[in-house]
Subunit: 287 residues, 2 copies
């Protein structure tokens, strides 16, 4: 059982329409408030060697990234912290606050709990004009498939390329980029936190089209043998880049560092150089 | 170190103004959106014998109670579930959904995580007119101190009075009551989830006045020796009644079952029959 299979359990209970995007949407005057929540904890998400400040930073960053992927402006964060050791709290809170400050949000509430394992759940709220909101659905054949930055760096650190520590320990949500891409007319977007391959399969599940990538265009982390670097870029988790589909007329998006890595195709498949991409990446698993 | 001491650590980092009430407030058109988050998990919050459905119900109920205590109408819930056993998910989700449905909210988002211990974090969003929002501050000398329902039942179950199982296992947030009390002109309100005594000390910390209770007026669970029953009502946790201060001109509030248990006084103290009330109740503790 993996988390995408479990999501089907949730869909049956709460309705598929509440499970489709990186954020939920709530009407808020003339705007849409987007809302998202993420659970992180020590054994799974907080890598050996991270400071509590970095754990707090990461906890905020993953949630701000979901807001960015809707084209929204992050505004508020709530943070629930389960602590085995109370001394961890100040570092976690300061890290979360500093990340929020850098990306324009403020911490407005939370909860403190005693827990057997350090567990941090962040809930983020953002605002976006109704006309500018971006969802996972909306891709059209002929659109360009694009990714910000260089995917695969976070997994590269876990595979021993220690120069990529910062990518994993202090992820930078693409907040400014998400808003610029939204204003330019993107057709679909999400973040690639579970890897490009799984993200494209997530997009596949809510679009009536597919995606064809060109391996020669795929940006990969430098200083790593080519085959491994491509593996990292396609299947590595822990990145917070934006993967999006762009009508050709909207390309380029000024002010955003991104790469066109393929095109949207009519067939409902995910291809790399014409061959099916494996459906794997970062997933939780249960026996 | 207890959680109220730890809250001071949080206040120093995120600002005292973001730590004062049961919910945070966000402007939303002509209304205020109130937002709150709560972490519950198996070893601390989910009592032996609870079904997963009840765990989901409780997780939603505690958050809807915070929304009720602001006088707001619950609208949306997000739920992050950390699972050691994936089979627990459906029960938790169904329980949370049923609680939301009963009290007018819908589940719009969430997260699924693999975790060493079943951990549920609910984030609730509610709406209230700007003029009707109720906070913990606002009590004035001469106001009546009131409580809905019968406090102490949840703790009574834990102390062996098994007839009170439902009070602990399936708490009923006072959603309708909170809105009626708000419309009638309440001056301050919160829920009593950590017990009446601690709640009054929480109110004390944000009001320039104190509270004097009359033990003969305190409603207590029936079928329990008087001294123990009063102990439960004052210091027991796990209830989700509303404790509020009401200008005498606003009494009674039609349609709400509540009891006047004392008055707001000028002195910054919490008294029962003229003697200081102990500052204890449900608290998390760390060594």
């Amino acid at each position: 059982m993996d988390d995408r299979e479990l999501l089907n359990v949730v869909m049956r209970i709460v309705g598929k329409e509440n499970c489709l995007d990186d954020c939920a949407e709530v009407s808020c005057g003339d705007q849409v408030m987007v809302v998202t929540t993420d659970m992180l904890h020590r054994t799974t998400d907080f890598v050996e060697g991270m400071t509590t400040w970095q754990m707090g930073w990461m906890s905020a960053a993953v949630t701000l990234s979901d807001i960015a992927s809707m084209g929204a402006e992050p505004k508020y964060l709530l943070i629930a912290v389960g602590l085995d050791v109370w001394q961890d709290l100040a570092g976690v809170m300061q890290g979360a606050k500093d990340c929020c400050k850098k990306f324009g949000a403020v911490i407005i509430g939370g909860d403190i709990d005693r827990h057997g394992e350090l567990t941090v759940v962040t809930t983020g709220l953002g605002l976006v004009d109704k006309t500018l909101i971006v969802r996972r659905s909306g891709a059209q054949p002929g659109d360009l498939v694009c990714i910000t930055g260089i995917p695969g760096k976070a997994q590269a650190y876990l595979d021993g390329y220690l120069q990529y520590k910062e990518a994993l320990f202090e992820p930078q949500p693409r907040v400014k980029e998400g808003q610029l891409i939204a204003r330019r007319g993107v057709s679909a977007m999400m973040d690639d936190s579970d890897g490009i391959a799984l993200s494209l399969y997530d997009l596949l599940s809510v679009n009536e089209c597919g995606f064809s990538l060109d391996s020669t265009k795929l940006p990969v982390p430098s200083g790593i043998p080519a085959v491994h670097a491509r593996e990292l870029a396609l299947y590595g988790g822990g990145d917070y880049e934006l993967i999006f589909t762009l009508p050709p007329r909207c390309h380029p998006v000024n002010g955003v560092a991104y790469t066109v890595i393929g095109t949207v195709i009519k067939e409902k498949v995910v291809l790399l150089d014409g061959l099916p991409v494996e459906k794997r990446g970062y997933q939780h698993r249960w026996e």
